[in-house]
Structure formats: C-alpha cells, structure tokens
Symmetry: C2
C-alpha cells in the first residue's frame, strides 16, 4: 500500500492519450478550456454510442485523453457532464441556419443521429429520463429551442406541436432501430434509401389536417384514456 519506497518522480505524462491535436497552442500545456471541450466531445460520442449507464467516466476520460477525475472537477459529476453535453449540442444545433423544410430537417437530424453520430440528443429523448424532476424540466428546456421548435415551425398547421414531436419520434425510432440492428432492413439500408422511403411520411405529417370528420373530436387535448381492457399480455 504505502508508496514510500521509491521517490517516484511524480507521474508526468502518463495519465492518458497525449491528445495530440493540431492545436498550435504550445504555450499552454495546461488548458482548462481545451480539457473541458475534449471532455464534452468525448462524452457526447460515448453517451450516444452506449447510453448513459454504459458510458463510464473512465472510458470518457480515456477517449478525451484526460483523467476521469477532471469530470468531477469541471462539471461536478457524471450526470452534470451529461447535461452539459446536451446543452452544448443544443447550442450547436441552434447555430445552424434554420431550414423550414421537413425533408431537410430530417436529413440533417438523421445525419446527426445516425451511426457514427456523436449526439447524445437522441438518447435524451428516448432513454429513461432522470429521476429528478428539476433535471427533467431542464432537459425539456434544453431540447426545445434547438430541436423541437424548428420542427414545429416546419410542420405548421394545426396541432403543429404534436405533429412536430411525432416527426421527431419517427426519426428517433429510426435512429434507434438502426443502431440496435435487430430490424435488419432498416439497419442495413443506406441513408439515402431511408430518406426516400420516409418522404411520403413526412408529406403526410406536414399536410394532413388531423381532424376532418372526427365524430366526437374534442377540440382540446384531453388526456383521457379509455379503459383499454385489452387482454393482451
């Protein structure tokens, strides 16, 4: 236990990958901001790839070329790093030029969420939400301006909110199925093929008025669920 036998000249430059970036900043070998960015990037990729639980802070640190303990120092902990990565992604998304075409948004989202993507956003919308209600609200606040609102604007019409989220859920499901692989046709199709098949769906989502001849359509979104009583299983 006691490491007092050898004087051990510290631990210089062994911790992790040298992170040999193209950064010309030789002057600052210790750059807190660069470390933060590296952690955010690695976290985004790993959270997307494996989900929150299976992405360990050790793996994140290794990919970032940084000691995992710095996660605690800079962000407070793993969960806060997750939130920060999400917020960072949302900020990037918001900086991109807005497009009002559902197809274009679909293409962009799929490119971001598809295999090889590095966006934890997809997980944030489908994985089990955090238990803390405050953080769930925070999640919603992060997702809205960068992801939900653009889709809502592109959908337009009545019930835009619901249909925009349906649009997101569709891409969500496709991305999830693709990364999972059990649905082999979806997993093996090219992205272009996928988008072609998705085309009519997007049109239906954008154009179709939700209520045409609803017999008892209540105008408000009444969350009353009729007793299912389905003896399914």
């Amino acid at each position: 236990m006691s490491a007092e036998s050898a004087p051990r000249p510290g631990a210089r430059g062994h911790g992790a990958e040298p992170a040999s970036g193209a950064a010309p900043r030789r002057g600052r070998r210790r750059d807190a901001e660069a470390t933060r960015r590296a952690l955010l990037e690695a976290a985004g990729a790993l959270f997307d790839e494996r989900g929150f639980d299976r992405a360990t802070i050790r793996d994140i640190g290794e990919r970032a070329g940084v000691d995992p303990a710095l996660i605690a120092r800079y962000f407070g902990g793993k969960e806060q790093l997750y939130i920060a990565a999400l917020a960072d992604e949302g900020r990037i998304a918001r900086r991109q030029p807005q497009v009002a075409d559902l197809h274009a948004i679909a293409e962009r989202l799929l490119a971001r969420w598809d295999r090889g993507g590095t966006s934890p956003v997809r997980r944030a919308l489908s994985d089990p939400a955090p238990a803390d209600p405050d953080q769930r609200a925070l999640l919603r606040r992060i997702m809205r301006p960068g992801v939900i609102d653009p889709a809502k604007e592109a959908v337009g019409g009545e019930e835009a909110a619901l249909r925009a989220e349906l649009f997101l859920a569709l891409l969500l499901g496709v991305s999830a199925a693709r990364s999972n692989g059990t649905l082999s046709a979806v997993a093996n199709a090219s992205r272009a093929e996928l988008l072609r098949q998705l085309g009519p769906l997007l049109d239906a989502l954008a154009d179709a008025p939700p209520r045409a001849d609803a017999p008892d359509a209540p105008p408000a979104d009444a969350p009353d669920v009729p007793p299912p009583a389905d003896a399914g299983g």
Copy 2:
C-alpha cells in the same frame, strides 16, 4: 457480522412477498412452474420499465415475490432471463389472431408498448444490442415471427420488408418518446389522439410506392406463412 449467536430457526417464509395468488393449488406450496412464470412476468415489466441495466435481479425477485437467486437456478442468469422474457412475449404475440390492417396492428402494438405496458420487446429493438453475435441473431429470430412478419404482411407491396420495419421504428420511437417524457406533447396526448395523428402516416407507409416510376404491383397476395421456426425455450 458473525451470525452465530442465535440458533436462528432457518428462514421460514420471510424471503419475499407471499405471492398470494389466486392459485387453488394448495397441494403444492412449492411450484417451480409458478415461480418461473412469476419471474418472467416481473422481468418483462421491469425490463420494459427501466431497461436491462437498471433492472436488477434483486428488484425482479422482489416484484415476483421470489428470491433473486432462483433466477440463476431457473434461467442461468440475468441475460438468459431477458432472452426468455422476450421469447415468452413473442410467443404471446404469435398466439393472437393475425390482422392484416396496419392501423389495427399499430393500435395493438401501441397498447402493448405504451405506458404501463409490460413488454421488453420495445427495448429489445432500441436499446444497445448485446455484444454476443449469437445472442443478436437469437434476438432477430425471436422478433421475426411475432413482430416483424405480421407487419410485413400488412404493408405488402414493394420493399415491404424495409417499410414494415420503418413502421415498427415509428411506433418504437413514439413509445420511447412517450415513456421518456421530454417530448411533452407526445407524452401527454391520449392514445386515441396519437393514433388519429398517426393515421395518414400509416396510409403513406402502406400505399406509397417507393419509386415514382414503378407500376403498381399486381395483387401479389402470397399469404404464405413461413415455417414457425419456433425458438421458444
């Protein structure tokens, strides 16, 4: 630590819930089959609710009213219990009367996967797939007859396989978004409202030919049911 002071008359009837089922089989106080079923049911619910990682065998045992160690005894381990729960679900799904209408299938699937559902199938199609290739193949073999094939038949037409899986991915995404809650409009909508909005999408999925210049396929109705290939254990 050392529990050697008191003689402790064994551990009679404390382990877990008494599992006071309505089972009239008073003759057998120890029923391996009932225990298996209880474990399968609890596992299905918890795997669906929390995902594979966060559903601990201790929690599963507690919900089933059974000692967690029996999971190892009866199924071999947590992962095999997962596979067994999936296969059990698939068997149930296969027993239900087949319907050839996409809307009907959507309604049924949503009822099964939606909140309060107890089906790990949704997770199996979206969560990170197991690392072992054999088990991934097994997963596919379980999902095909009970879930994928019926959808494929209902979709029909060209590229039925891809579009059927797209259909499943759509419902998958909707269910995931609903249980996650961050997409609040989808999460708060009633199931009926959801199905109404989904309607046009399903029509687009069923009707739209993938390529504009393709003549509509002749009524190629080949209702050949593939061999059962029962993998249920």
